[in-house]
């Protein structure tokens, strides 16, 4: 997998749009520090999300950034550790809500200190996610736990719900921290370190409502038009995202069904032990083996209960996360398409303008202008000047969008690979753990019944009347 990013250079012929060889005029001066992203304050992005910053970086610098992520992230190279724990309930006049303690330990130089502890509520996490998505529309942000669980009528302040949510939030922050781009985000840093007042005021910054609306309108227009020349690799990704979404949802459903059936099995099994115990009360010789069996069944019940709990606490949340991830994949592909659509629209507009410039429109303008008393030459000159100006503007705009598209495509491709690797690791380990847990479950039950047999053997040998063949 390493080295594939290097292929995504500017000169790769994937995009169907000719990329101008001379882009030197468009490259900003970039910091050569690979860790940091470079932001400018230009807000012209027509992908439907309003921004605070755009990503006008050259593809070249981007290649360097992504090369970084190909190195295996060992625990040794990990330089930031984030934990989410200690949920607490807060009651105000208007509402009741839960906050979580977010603790950060880091050796990174951009952090003022090496340890931070703040309290954050779910809204804050939502804000962070939104910011990251705005800044990087084609990067894959790990999903947050859902706002409110309707099925099963889980109460917002139910213990299990809070614990599930806490665990998912912890995973979310860790995924962000592991991501080469996201973890250097300013918003992320503020999220981890700012006091609540500082965070609130930081949150207030951002494009106003109107400019956001403007961007949304443009985005809708682009989306409606649709993308024309989507490169095959992105179509492939789209198909994969669809298929993956289906499969992972199925697995999620199957697993939930298994948990349900196990719970119902457990309910029935719970009555077995007491029935054997009841029977033992009517018996003399049989009392001891019956009581023993009752004990064995009860022990197996306990083991079954724990096994179900493990499934619920470990496998199900992971599957659920990846169901949400599948939706993220689809959204990211959509946004990329929108950027490309925007580029295509602008390209067409420029071509039209150029055609205008080259077209022979002397007849009409001459007629008009002779009316207003201007010489044909003057008029022609004026027209040409005007068009030239417009074309330059559009040209500049188009170049920006082209860069944006190039950047978006490469970002997506790299992050896609990165995501797949992460998905493979997460799901492999989740299934592995489940299988291991199941083995352990059966081993424990086996031991229970073998000890019963053992006890009957020693009894029988004492009485000399049971044949074990």
């Amino acid at each position: 997998m390493s080295g594939s990013v290097v292929d995504n250079t500017v000169s790769s012929g994937n995009s169907s749009v000719a990329i101008p060889t001379d882009i030197s005029g468009q490259i900003l001066d970039i910091d050569e520090d690979d860790d940091l992203e470079v932001f400018s304050k230009d807000t012209t992005l027509s992908d439907g999300s309003s921004l605070n910053a755009s990503m006008q970086t050259s593809s070249a610098s981007m290649i360097n950034q992504y090369k970084f992520e190909e190195e295996e992230e060992d625990a040794d190279t990990k330089d930031i550790f984030v934990t989410v724990d200690n949920p607490e309930s807060h009651v105000t006049a208007i509402e009741t809500y839960i906050t979580y303690r977010v603790e950060t330990k880091t050796t990174r130089s951009e952090f003022d200190s090496s340890e931070f502890e703040v309290r954050r509520r779910y809204q804050d996490f939502l804000w962070l996610k939104g910011r990251l998505e705005e800044a990087h529309p084609t990067l894959i942000v790990h999903p947050l736990p859902e706002k409110f669980v309707m099925k099963g009528m889980v109460e917002r302040f139910n213990e299990d719900f809070i614990e599930t949510r806490r665990s998912a939030l912890h995973k979310f922050l860790n995924k962000i921290a592991e991501h080469p781009i996201f973890s250097s985000s300013e918003d992320f840093k503020i999220f981890l370190t700012a006091g609540s007042g500082e965070l609130t005021s930081h949150k207030k910054q951002g494009p106003g409502f109107l400019s956001r609306m403007g961007e949304t309108v443009k985005a809708v227009a682009a989306a409606v038009r649709g993308v024309r020349g989507r490169p095959q690799e992105f179509t492939d990704m789209q198909e994969y995202a669809e298929a993956f979404s289906q499969k992972i949802s199925s697995i999620d459903k199957v697993t939930q069904r298994i948990v349900r059936e196990q719970k119902e099995y457990l309910e029935e099994l719970k009555e077995c032990g007491p029935t054997y115990a009841l029977w033992s009360q009517s018996e003399e010789e049989l009392a001891e083996p019956l009581k023993n069996v009752a004990g064995c069944v009860d022990k197996c019940c306990k083991e079954t209960e724990e096994q179900v709990k493990h499934l619920n606490d470990h496998l199900i949340p992971v599957l659920h996360e990846y169901v949400l991830c599948a939706d993220t994949l689809k959204a990211v592909l959509r946004r990329r398409d929108n950027i490309q659509a925007d580029f295509e629209v602008k390209t067409e507009a420029l071509a039209t303008k150029k055609a205008d410039r080259d077209a022979d429109s002397k007849v009409l303008s001459l007629a008009w202008d002779s009316l207003v008393g201007r010489s044909p030459e003057e008029v022609k000159q004026q027209k040409q000047q005007k068009l030239k100006g417009e074309i330059k503007e559009m040209r500049d705009e188009l170049d920006k969008v082209e860069d944006r598209l190039e950047w978006a495509n490469n970002a997506l491709k790299s992050d896609w690979t990165r995501w797949q690797k992460g998905m493979r690791t997460d799901l492999r380990s989740a299934f592995n753990d489940t299988a291991e847990r199941n083995v352990s479950y059966y081993e424990k039950c086996l031991a229970v019944w073998e000890s019963f047999l053992q006890s009957q053997r020693t009894d029988a040998e004492g009485n000399g009347n049971v044949d074990f063949s």
Binding site: Y240, A243, F244, K247, I248, S250, I251, V254, R257, I258, E261, Q262, E264, Y265, E267, E268, L269, E271, C272, T275, Y276, L278, W279, S282, E283, E285, L286, P289, L290, V293, C296, C300, R424, L427, R428, F431, N432, A435, E436, N438, V439, Y441, Y442, E443, C445, L446, W449, E450, F452, L453, Q456, N465, V466, F468
Partner: protein, 434 residues
């Protein structure tokens, strides 16, 4: 019993057995003990077949017949292997045999038949009597019944039982000719005795209570077990869905594909393994069911005791009242209320001749009554003695068999766990290769 030398079947009815006949039977019983039929003969219910025919109301019906094979024990040891004798019997004939044994040996705990209709089923098991699994389990149950009877010290020497195994034609008529049906106690009579008996043997009362408890607890256990089996089936089978989805998923993945695909196969294997597991558990359930029905047979013996005891008490009571009447008549005092007393008061005393006649009659009745009480007392004692012997034998058998059943249940659970360990270890390996 059968080989007592007389050509008649020694039928031990309840009320009309003379003391000498009864003595004869006991003697024969002692001779026959220890030489149970099973020592001489191999018995098996080898096959089952469907037949169609016309029934009593001349309608077409389909029924199942079972092949009973018998072969002398020595034959195999001699090296020759003769073809076994065999005949076909249907379930209703087994029922007839058992009813005969119940009536003929009311002091014995008669082995039960496998259930007539499938009960305690869980969803995968069919409640249909024609279902091949049910027929197979019934075949095993019928064989078990025959083996139980053939190994019983008393029952095995019964002639009707022997001809059940060896004479295909005319057996039914032979059974009916014994007239056993007439000897059967009416339910009403038995129920009446249960309510009114004053002094039943304490041990029998306890045994009856035990029979009630046993029946109740085994029923409950079978019910719970059936429901649990149903659920367990669901758990295993849902894992089969993993197999399908993993396979589909593996098609869109590059590196993960192989691991997923093979893990999926193991999930399929896991789902399929439940069928064998639950089939074995059915066998365990059948063992419990046998003792569920045995509980009923045990209670029947206790009820029979209550009946004999009650009849003794009735005879004794009758004797006492007759003696009292005699006393009154002799002394002229009327202590007990009687119609005689009232009418004599109203219409005047009877003549001395009339009184003489009455006294004579009473004396005869009292003599007969005393004989009856002696008889019934002997019957009762005899019944208690032989019944208790068989009950003790039954207790030992039950303790042994049920302990074996529990052990085999544990062995089944162990086997199930081992299979689970194997499958999930395999799956784990596949997952780690994802």
């Amino acid at each position: 019993m059968a080989d007592s030398g007389s050509e008649d079947i020694a039928v031990i009815g309840n009320t009309d057995l003379t003391p000498s006949e009864s003595e004869n039977n006991v003697k024969n019983a002692m001779v026959e003990k220890g030489t149970s039929l099973l020592k001489k003969m191999e018995i098996s219910v080898a096959e089952a077949e469907k037949r169609t025919g016309k029934n009593a109301v001349n309608m077409q019906e389909t029924y199942t017949v079972y092949l009973i094979e018998t072969r002398p024990v020595d034959a195999a040891s001699e090296g020759t292997n003769p073809v076994p004798d065999s005949l076909w019997r249907r379930y209703s004939e087994f029922e007839l045999l058992r009813n005969y044994l119940l009536v003929t040996y009311p002091f014995l705990v008669v082995p039960p038949l496998p259930e007539k209709r499938a009960e305690f089923v869980w969803h995968k098991l069919s409640a249909d009597n024609m279902d091949p699994d049910f027929v197979e389990r019934r075949r095993v149950g019928l064989e078990n019944f025959l083996l139980r009877v053939a190994s019983h010290p008393d029952l095995s020497s019964d002639k009707i039982f022997y001809s059940f195994l060896t004479e295909e034609n005319g057996w039914k008529e032979t059974v009916f000719e014994t007239g056993f049906q007439a000897k059967a106690d009416s339910r009403l009579k038995a129920l009446n005795a249960t309510f009114r008996v004053k002094n039943p043997d304490k041990r029998f009362a306890e045994m009856k209570h035990y029979g009630d408890e046993l029946q109740s607890v085994i029923s409950q256990l079978l019910r719970v077990r059936a429901r649990a089996a149903d659920r367990l089936y669901g758990v295993y089978k849902v894992h089969g869905n993993y197999g399908r989805v993993f396979s589909e998923w593996s098609a869109i993945e590059k590196e993960m594909g192989d691991g997923l695909q093979s893990a999926g196969h193991h999930m399929d294997a896991y789902a399929a393994s439940v069928d064998d597991i639950l089939e074995e558990e059915e066998h365990y359930a059948d063992q419990l069911k046998e003792y569920l029905f045995y509980a009923d047979a045990l209670r029947a013996v206790c009820r029979k005791h209550e009946l004999t005891q009650y009849e003794l008490e009735m005879a004794a009571q009758d004797l006492t009242s007759k003696k009292q009447q005699r006393e009154e008549l002799a002394t002229g005092t009327i202590r007990t209320f009687s119609l005689k007393g009232v009418t004599s008061k109203l219409f005047g005393q009877e003549t001395p001749e009339q009184r003489e006649a009455k006294l004579k009659m009473l004396e005869t009745q009292i003599e007969e009554g005393e004989e009856l009480v002696k008889e019934r007392n002997a019957e009762c004692e005899e019944f208690v003695k032989s019944a208790w012997v068989d009950i003790e034998r039954f207790k030992e058998q039950k303790d042994h068999d049920l302990r074996e059943a529990l052990i085999s249940y544990a062995i089944m659970q162990i086997s199930m766990c081992k299979k689970g360990i194997q499958v999930w270890n395999n799956a784990k390996e596949c997952f780690s290769k994802m």
